[in-house]
């Protein structure tokens, strides 16, 4: 099987400033990779470049063995942007938002098929909001909105899920639900690339952690190798948020 993500030596400049330098990133089939680092370390830019939202100045990116510029099989990729504008100027229901996740599988013109409806229902079921499927997004809490965006990423039944800080600003209960959903996906063989500030309940799911620092990869290996207090506390020192040491004590059963 070809690797869902193979990034080799990319450079990214934003507004004339170097943001990424010589970065490699791999996600193997079925692998759950966490991308960690402080604010401004370039982790978000790296995933955005990987899915083609940010142009690269050098290097190569392949998705499922196809160079990014020629990649068209977007139904295989479920993407969840960071702090997405879940609430637009006109209200939309949970079902409407999740249905837009099916676009990669639908022809340009045509009605929704039964398969579309079933996949959307399943995705909403999965994030545990089946009873809210006709609620407007505006009536949901921030954490519930994040779950809906996960469902949208799942609606195309992708082989790879890319999530940019899905747990940012989400309460503990919703984070637990997210972790359970991702655990289920991982056990089904879906590859996951997760950008996170802190791992929390996700920790036991992660096969490999990539830590970014100042636009370069600082660490790439098992989470066990991460001296937790070092790396994540370090990350917090450079962030605008106060250190939250309670989240660092996650001693999963797998350690």
């Amino acid at each position: 099987m070809t690797s869902p993500i193979a990034v080799r030596g990319i450079d990214v400049d934003l507004a004339g400033r170097p943001v990424l330098r010589q970065v490699d990133l791999d996600v193997a089939p079925g692998e759950f990779v966490a991308l960690l680092g402080a604010n401004g370390s370039g982790k978000s830019t790296l995933v955005r470049a990987t899915v083609g939202l940010v142009p690269t100045a050098a290097g190569s990116i392949q998705l499922f063995g196809t160079p990014l510029a020629r990649f068209r099989d977007w139904r295989r990729v479920g993407y969840m942007p960071q702090r997405s504008s879940a609430v637009a100027g006109v209200p939309a229901t949970v079902r409407e938002v999740v249905t837009s996740g099916r676009l990669a599988r639908r022809p340009v013109v045509g009605f929704r098929t039964r398969a579309d409806r079933v996949a959307v229902d399943e995705a909403i079921e999965r994030i545990g909001l089946a009873h809210r499927h006709d609620s407007p997004m505006t009536e949901l809490s921030g954490g519930q909105q994040q779950r809906v965006l996960i469902a949208r990423a799942l609606a195309s039944q992708p082989d790879l899920i890319v999530m940019d800080e899905p747990t940012a600003g989400v309460d503990h209960e919703n984070t637990e639900i997210l972790a359970a959903v991702l655990g289920g996906l991982a056990s089904e063989g879906t590859s996951v690339l997760l950008v996170a500030h802190e791992l929390g309940p996700m920790r036991p799911l992660i096969d490999r952690a990539v830590v970014m620092r100042a636009g370069r990869v600082e660490h790439d290996g098992p989470v066990a190798d991460l001296r937790t207090d070092d790396h994540e506390a370090h990350a917090h020192l450079h962030s605008s948020q106060p250190p939250q040491h309670d989240s660092l004590s996650g001693e999963g059963p797998w350690r």
């Binding site: 939202l53 977007w74 993407y79 942007p81 637009a88 006109v90 209200p91 939309a92 676009l103 990669a104």
Partner: protein
């Protein structure tokens, strides 16, 4: 209904039907994209198109649709690639459009009343040729906004997610801008260039008071737009006012009623719940 005996009124009413349906049909996407005032800006630019038509003897509707579309494309490109100065660039385009329009209309030796007709609409001026163009352009706008609504919804809801779904976001962004420009030309005879944006935005805001889903908002906004445009044209004939302001005041009235209705309904529900609570005690 003796007004239907006048051919000019028949034409004005048909034009009103297309105006009332198309303006909210594209307007809903503009509001969703938080570009509610885009229509206003393109309307300003369209005035230069009208003036060019008057100056050169080409039908103003045709020059307006061309210049407005070109303006809309420039605005969208500035939005896509522009940085901090895009805001100011947009303002310049708007004011350039209206200043250029007024200057050229004067150069064409047209009177202030001609200018007024384009700015605020005039029901007596819809010719048969105009009506055909309005009907064809209106039908195209309706067909595309309804047929492509899944894509347009995705692009307006979350541009980045749409891009990673393989949707050609820039193309759809340009399409939305051009459809808005075409709609403005369709609506020009009925509501006029300065007020067309109101018919793109106000029925959508009214619909939002009553609906929970995007699809329902889209449909209800079109029905409300249709009612405002047709009733506005009738009222403007009856009381001899310009149609544009009449239509817009009707649309605003509907908004006021919808907001009031919603507030009252919420208050009634609260009171009922309060009473239930007391009884349970």
């Amino acid at each position: 209904m003796d007004l239907l005996n006048y051919e000019f009124m028949q034409r004005a009413l048909i034009a009103a039907v297309f105006t009332g349906l198309t303006a909210p049909a594209i307007g809903t996407f503009l509001v969703q994209r938080r570009l509610a005032l885009l229509g206003d800006g393109i309307g300003h630019v369209a005035l230069t198109g009208v003036a060019l038509g008057l100056l050169t003897g080409i039908a103003p509707l045709i020059t307006a649709v061309l210049i407005a579309s070109a303006g809309a494309i420039v605005i969208e490109l500035l939005r896509m690639y522009g940085r901090t100065s895009a805001d100011v660039a947009l303002a310049m385009l708007f004011y350039g459009g209206i200043a250029g329009g007024v200057l050229l209309i004067n150069l064409a030796d047209e009177s202030a009343s001609t200018l007024n007709r384009y700015l605020f609409g005039a029901i007596t001026t819809v010719s048969v040729a105009d009506l055909w163009l309005v009907a064809i352009l209106g039908a195209i706008v309706l067909l595309l906004t309804i047929g492509l609504s899944p894509q347009l919804f995705a692009v307006c809801q979350d541009e980045e997610h749409a891009r990673v779904s393989g949707v050609p976001v820039r193309l759809y962004g340009l399409l939305i801008a051009v459809l808005a420009a075409v709609t403005i030309t369709v609506a020009m005879r009925t509501v006029g260039l300065l007020l067309v944006s109101a018919l793109m935005v106000v029925p959508v805001a009214t619909a939002q008071q009553l609906t929970r889903s995007f699809r329902a908002t889209h449909l209800v906004a079109m029905v409300l737009g249709l009612l405002a445009a047709v009733l506005g044209v009738v009222a403007s004939y009856e009381v001899d006012t310009p149609p544009g302001p009449t239509i817009v005041m009707l649309a605003l009235l509907a908004f006021g009623v919808a907001v009031l209705g919603r507030v009252l309904l919420a208050a009634v529900r609260r009171t009922r719940r309060g009473i239930d609570f007391v009884q349970e005690d």
